[in-house]
Symmetry: C2
């Protein structure tokens, strides 16, 4: 389509994870004029850190985020230490690829636990433990509140206001990722994004489908669901964030089955028409 711009658009490579690895994903993005990406750790590990950094830097790519750290809650001290070590390694990788931030999710309840408060405490403690390393490497940590439907097994931090309380406690070097999929329904979203202000360091987009058939892998393309994308973007910009909108779509039965070029073309089109 004519007059379609990709300035300000970033592609989280999970969106095309079944179609491309880092190298082919970058090539495909560039073909569509997309010069910003967000890779996952498995992309970097499959390619090798050195080669990954080369691909990213030689193509002058912006990296809007590195996915995904956090996941600190664990059943015992050894598990918690392993999560801290993993996050420190990821911070090194994020620095090597020049990521704007590293995305941190809460993690779920340890096996057999019903103690959400305890899980949240472990998340905050883990974050505090890796923060000096993140600061030293100039990698901002972006807490991403996840939808309450994955609170038990994936993200014990659900509300933006919770994430901001953790930010307030930890100080510099920690911000939030506003993912519309997780937060669109929150009646306090406008209030809390305004409170976030300069803490907003990432903005992820996709759409909420009606009906949604899977709790994890049925995210929609922008425009195909009920999220007021321009409305949330206005809140995010009013808070002072004018960075990229990063498309992150997990879609096992639809977009992951389509040709990657079609997915990327559709992302650019929808970014221009509905975001």
């Amino acid at each position: 389509m004519k007059n379609m711009k990709a300035d300000g658009l970033s592609i989280n490579l999970a969106t095309v994870r079944q179609q491309f690895d880092l190298k082919t994903g970058v090539e495909a993005c560039l073909k569509h004029g997309i010069t910003a990406i967000a890779p996952w750790r498995d992309h970097i590990q499959a390619t090798g850190l050195r080669e990954a950094a080369h691909i990213i830097h030689s193509n002058n790519l912006k990296v809007t985020g590195y996915c995904r750290g956090g996941l600190f809650p664990a059943a015992d001290a050894a598990g918690r230490q392993a999560a801290i070590d993993m996050n420190k390694e990821m911070i090194d990788e994020a620095a090597a690829i020049g990521a704007d931030c590293m995305v941190m999710i809460g993690g779920g309840l340890p096996p057999g636990s019903r103690d959400m408060k305890g899980a949240r405490k472990m998340f905050a403690e883990g974050l505090a433990a890796v923060l000096p390393h993140a600061r030293a490497n100039k990698v901002p940590l972006a807490i991403e509140p996840l939808h309450p439907m994955v609170a038990a097994d994936r993200g014990c931090v659900s509300l933006l206001c919770e994430a901001l309380d953790i930010c307030d406690a930890l100080g510099e070097g920690v911000g939030v990722a506003i993912d519309v999929y997780h937060l669109w329904w929150d009646p306090n979203l406008e209030r809390d994004i305004a409170r976030a202000g300069a803490r907003v360091i990432a903005h992820h987009i996709c759409d909420w489908l009606v009906p949604t058939k899977d709790l994890l892998l049925d995210r929609g393309m922008m425009g195909d669901g009920v999220v007021d994308l321009p409305g949330i973007r206005r809140m995010v910009e009013a808070a002072g964030f004018h960075g990229h909108q990063e498309v992150e779509i997990f879609s096992a039965e639809n977009w992951w089955k389509k040709p990657g070029d079609e997915v990327l073309r559709t992302c650019v089109e929808r970014y221009n028409t509905v975001c």
Copy 2:
């Protein structure tokens, strides 16, 4: 099992909706010592209001709630009026069966709408429109916040704090139903239940399964999931509610497929052991 008591236990008949109608459901409950139920409108309509009221009163049953009204958001004025009319009829039915309250859910976005704020406004306006009729009939209205995963298509009121704001605006005759399935994950739950105080007029129980395979019909039996049921009950009682715990389980692939007697026996057992 011995020494199992059903005092304080109520069965929402949706839990055994595939096994029993009102009459056979009541008979089965009584056999297990359960003397409190919560029927849905389809139970009452299939039986006839007069006969339903007779079954309930002649067996001296407590009715912990009548399901479910609300659902006020609609695409046009005619749709909104139809919802108001439907709710007024249900209030009459709730009065006829002596229900402790009528459960009110938000309803979803009207077709094509992305305006959650507008949907919430329509919900509050609809509630205000039927409230005088509810007061005149002495039927308390219990706003039930629903899990954010059904915000788009079923319940635009997600958080307890939202429901309490509506209560505050409307005054006497409106309270809240605390359903652990919808609210267990909320980091502000203890704060908001305390705020609710005497507004708590119903307490629904079941469990959140890991993994959850369906957004609507995969609720778990108490004890099979991650909800801290005794912890939430303590909050509810601290707020001043000592009424029944009402089991409401939608379980298409598990409990709806088991013999109704087994389901009820399990409800009594778990009520005694994990709630």
